[in-house]
């Protein structure tokens, strides 16, 4: 029999008992819907997590620290590394070398100093943090009030909303565009006779510092007039910061130009090394290149960290989650399979005579089998279609529900449920395959019917 005729006869037969076949199809669709809803939830949660992480600007960033610092977080990693004394420090030459690596677009030091902002005669203390220009892409700036820095050494400052409220309780937004005084500690080279001692020190330690202040330096209080250009709600790169929370943000270039004294300056002075950094933030052209850059920096002797490391376990988690969601979703479909078998077995019993007639006028066993198979497949197809639609509706409801809940908790609404196109296709295909498998038994039963027996009785 030609496939057109098969399909035509199958659909015609299905329409013969609309209620029963309709109910079975709805049963399949409920199964498919639960599977779709579960799997889409998995996809949605995964995308939500990935989006959160991507928005944090961490996926294209490698954090570089010296193996001398931050020891003890990862004992295995420590054990593999050379002894701390031999590990290179993160200094200006290291920064230059890293910036020459392929696919690296920006290398900025992690800078954080103590400072004060003077506003209307009052001084307000806060940590000053340097931001590279690429920070503009960070999700923290989604809520930016005002503008971003106009350049990498502009005398401009962005402040945290909390801090702005401290400065001006009633109308923090009015600070945007105002000039304020920034008070900070400048790192100054020692005077000439101190420098001669520095030379001696170089002999002591074997270090040949090329800037005169590797032996020591002065910290001198300075002030600078800066303009508040923007206010943000959250600190960028919040999770990755090593020291306490920053409230005042300057362009990294400005901080370097003003030669602000760093925590690390004291340490490098004790060690008799040149000025070095707590950490470098290396921006990579493309998240897919992060691993390569990370390896290259690792070979230079530094410790690296990127979100790639964190997402490895995240991806594993989602694979397991998808598996479990899939299993739970499939349960309903398994029940639907039984419904298909039941419906078709009933149909075989009911249509015994019709099957006998068809055989008598020339249908082969194969034709009869294919006909029941097609009926099962058609129920699977329609059930799948309806199921995807139903699953889509359930998902929308979940999204609206969670959105409502999130909004009540002052959080931005985000879809936790996403139906990717491949899942639509896969769900319908799966529904058809499951239905065909369910049709195996009834179809072969129908094919085996003896026409003489079925035609014998009225």
């Amino acid at each position: 029999m030609k496939s057109y005729d098969l399909l035509d006869l199958a659909v015609r037969n299905l329409r013969q008992s609309k209620l029963r076949n309709g109910l079975t199809t709805v049963g399949i669709s409920v199964g498919v819907a639960s599977l779709v809803a579960m799997l889409s939830l998995g996809v949605g949660l995964q995308q939500l997590a990935t989006r959160r992480l991507a928005g944090s600007g961490m996926f294209d960033t490698v954090f570089v620290t010296s193996r001398q610092d931050f020891r003890g977080y990862d004992k295995d990693d420590d054990a593999k590394a050379p002894s701390p004394e031999k590990a290179p420090v993160v200094d200006e030459p290291a920064r230059q070398n890293i910036s020459k690596l392929a696919n690296v677009t920006e290398v900025e030091p992690e800078m954080r100093v103590m400072g004060e902002i003077g506003y209307e005669g009052q001084m307000h203390f806060g940590f000053v943090t340097g931001l590279p220009l690429s920070a503009r892409e960070n999700e923290a700036f989604e809520t930016l009030k005002g503008k971003f820095f106009s350049g990498n050494d502009a005398d401009e400052v962005v402040i945290l909303r909390d801090f702005a409220k401290e400065l001006n309780e009633k109308d923090p937004n009015s600070l945007v565009g105002r000039e304020v005084t920034l008070r900070y500690g400048e790192r100054q080279a020692l005077s000439a006779d101190d420098s001669s001692r520095a030379g001696m020190a170089a002999q002591d330690t074997g270090n040949s510092g090329n800037s005169g202040d590797s032996y020591g330096f002065s910290v001198v209080r300075k002030t600078e007039q800066v303009k508040v250009v923007g206010i943000i709600d959250e600190e960028p790169y919040g999770g990755m910061r090593t020291v306490s929370r920053g409230r005042i943000f300057l362009p990294v270039g400005t901080m370097e130009r003003l030669n602000m004294a760093q925590f690390t300056d004291m340490r490098s002075s004790l060690r008799g090394t040149d000025k070095n950094y707590m950490a470098l933030m290396v921006r990579v052209k493309d998240p897919s290149k992060v691993q390569g850059v990370q390896n290259a920096i690792g070979k230079m002797g530094f410790r690296t960290f990127s979100m790639l490391d964190a997402t490895k376990s995240l991806r594993r988690f989602f694979t397991v989650l998808d598996l479990f969601l899939g299993i739970f979703g499939s349960l309903a479909l398994a029940v639907a399979t039984l419904a298909i078998i039941n419906t078709l077995v009933m149909a075989v019993l009911e249509r015994r005579r019709e099957i006998g007639v068809m055989k008598a006028i020339g249908a082969s066993d194969g034709d009869v089998k294919k006909l029941f198979f097609t009926e099962a497949g058609a129920m699977g197809f329609f059930g799948g279609l309806l199921g995807v639609a139903l699953g889509f509706a359930i998902g929308k409801a979940i999204n609206i529900g969670t959105g409502f809940y999130l909004e009540r908790h002052q959080l931005p609404a985000e879809p936790v449920w996403i139906l990717p196109p491949w899942l639509i296709g896969a769900a319908i295909a799966f529904s058809i395959v499951v239905s065909l498998v369910a049709g195996l038994y009834p179809a072969s039963r129908a094919a085996k019917l003896d026409p003489v027996q079925t035609l014998k009785y009225e």
Partner: protein, 238 residues
């Protein structure tokens, strides 16, 4: 199988010592028990006998719906007993047409669709199917009832539809199992007239099972009497 004994035309149907035995409980039922007969092409043969004489079982064997326990059934020289079930289906589809006592039309299908059904199995082109449906229905005189359902037709009309269906694939043999059994005598006669006309105009071989001897004598060229699964006697009419 020795065909040298047949100098004249090859018979359309020939059975050789054909048996069909059933196992029922502990007993063996010999529904057909060693029947040998020959039917010439274009011949109209009636199988007569009491119920349980084995005439319907013999017809089912000729139709390829049932397989003999032993012996052979040769149709145009091909042994049905040796055919695969796929080959038998093809034989039923192309070489024989069947008419039943209770018509066996599919109630959910319109007249045209019932007639079209065997052509679906035979994979006849859709355009040709419409043509042949009309042709068959005209031949049985039902061209005006094409879009009705079987339940809307009288018994005689239903049997005509079933005739049209049997003719759809242009078979060479028509097998009729008590075609008049559910009809009044007037309508039954009409149907047998139709069968004879078709047989004559298309040169079809007809084997009809019946228990109405009078009708058989009027229409069939030869009467074959069965009893207890055995061939009892034959009677050739003019």
């Amino acid at each position: 199988m020795n065909s040298t004994a047949r100098p004249r035309t090859r018979p359309a149907v020939r059975t050789e010592n054909v048996c069909r035995h059933y196992q029922m409980g502990g007993n063996i039922i010999r529904a057909v028990d060693g029947i040998s007969l020959e039917i010439e092409p274009g011949e109209f043969v009636a199988l007569l006998g009491q119920s349980g004489s084995g005439k319907s079982t013999l017809l089912n064997l000729l139709a390829g719906l049932d397989r003999p326990t032993s012996g052979s059934v040769l149709v145009h020289g091909r042994d049905l007993a040796k055919m695969s079930s796929e080959e038998l289906a093809r034989y039923r589809r192309n070489d024989v047409g069947m008419v039943f006592q209770s018509f066996h039309l599919i109630p959910s299908m319109k007249v045209t669709e019932n007639v079209e059904l065997p052509m679906r199995f035979a994979e006849v082109d859709r355009t040709e199917r419409a043509e042949r449906v009309r042709e068959s229905l005209e031949r049985v005189g039902l061209a005006k009832r094409m879009d009705h359902r079987p339940s809307e037709l009288s018994g005689g009309e239903q049997q005509r539809v079933s005739m049209a269906r049997a003719l759809a694939n242009r078979p060479s043999i028509l097998l009729a199992d008590e075609p008049t059994g559910n009809l009044d005598s007037r309508t039954g006669e009409d149907i047998l007239n139709l069968i004879r006309d078709v047989s004559l105009s298309l040169g079809m071989t007809v084997v009809m099972v019946t228990h109405e001897r009078a009708l058989a004598e009027r229409f069939a060229q030869r009467l074959i009497f069965l009893a207890d699964g055995k061939l009892q006697s034959q009677e050739v009419r003019a």
